[in-house]
Symmetry: C2
Subunit: 113 residues, 2 copies
DNA sequence: CCGAGTGTTCGATCCGTATCTTACAGTCCC
DNA sequence: GGGACTGTAAGATACGGATCGAACACTCGG
């Protein structure tokens, strides 16, 4: 039997953490990294589900990038979905903001690093 | 000639950083530590200039504690003043909140870790 | 079926930082 | 002046996390 084509996924569906279950420490640690901060910001400036993991201009290799997305998922900041061969992302604005009101706005609004 | 008694200080006056000059990354990194988070919270629950560095119930030695306060100063979160033999602290609520609106409230309000 | 494209996983490495111990520098009180 | 007390500075250590390279899984298009 054929596994359903689209939506079926890369291999195993990515593991997501509900923002409601995320500790402050985890959230802050996830955002306290230049690469992840840039990812979140670029993600915030794009429509949902339009950016695949590889489509970010960050100065790290694929492996590190994959790791960073794993951290962002674990902090309830990003949701991922498999779309054909690529994994597309979405910033969990509402949900994360419900758990940590203002935090996302703050890091997005802030200038510089 | 006698150096002025109180206010003169331990040795050198502690170096402070204006919250306005603090980067988001620095602020988040400073708060993304369990010990410092506890310090900030205890400090928030006390009147200004009433807590000396040694007067916190944290599970680290004096040296590490001194280091943590140095980081908090560098992030514009804490102001210190020498009062006789001890160094007393104050949480820079207003100033820090002006630079990062809501961040302090968030970490103070949040339950657990 | 094979090849190109995309991500994840594993192992190794490297660097920052949190920590301790020890030593030192002040202040206060007797 | 001599302690007791408080905090900082310096050196050593240990651990976590960010990174890379290589190998592997999966999808899609010839």
């Amino acid at each position: 039997m054929a596994k359903q084509a689209v939506g079926g996924g890369h291999r195993a569906a990515p593991v997501h953490t509900d923002p409601a279950d995320v500790s402050v420490l985890t959230a802050l640690s996830a955002l306290a990294d230049p690469v992840r901060l840039q990812l979140v910001r670029e993600l915030a400036g794009s429509a949902e589900w339009t950016r695949s993991c590889g489509g970010f201009d960050v100065p790290v290799g694929k492996a590190a990038l994959s790791h960073h997305f794993s951290v962002l998922r674990g902090a309830g900041l990003v949701e991922q979905r498999d779309e054909g061969p690529r994994r597309v992302n979405r910033l969990r604005r509402e949900e994360f903001d419900a758990r940590f009101p203002g935090l996302l706005d703050l890091v997005l609004r802030a200038d510089g690093d």
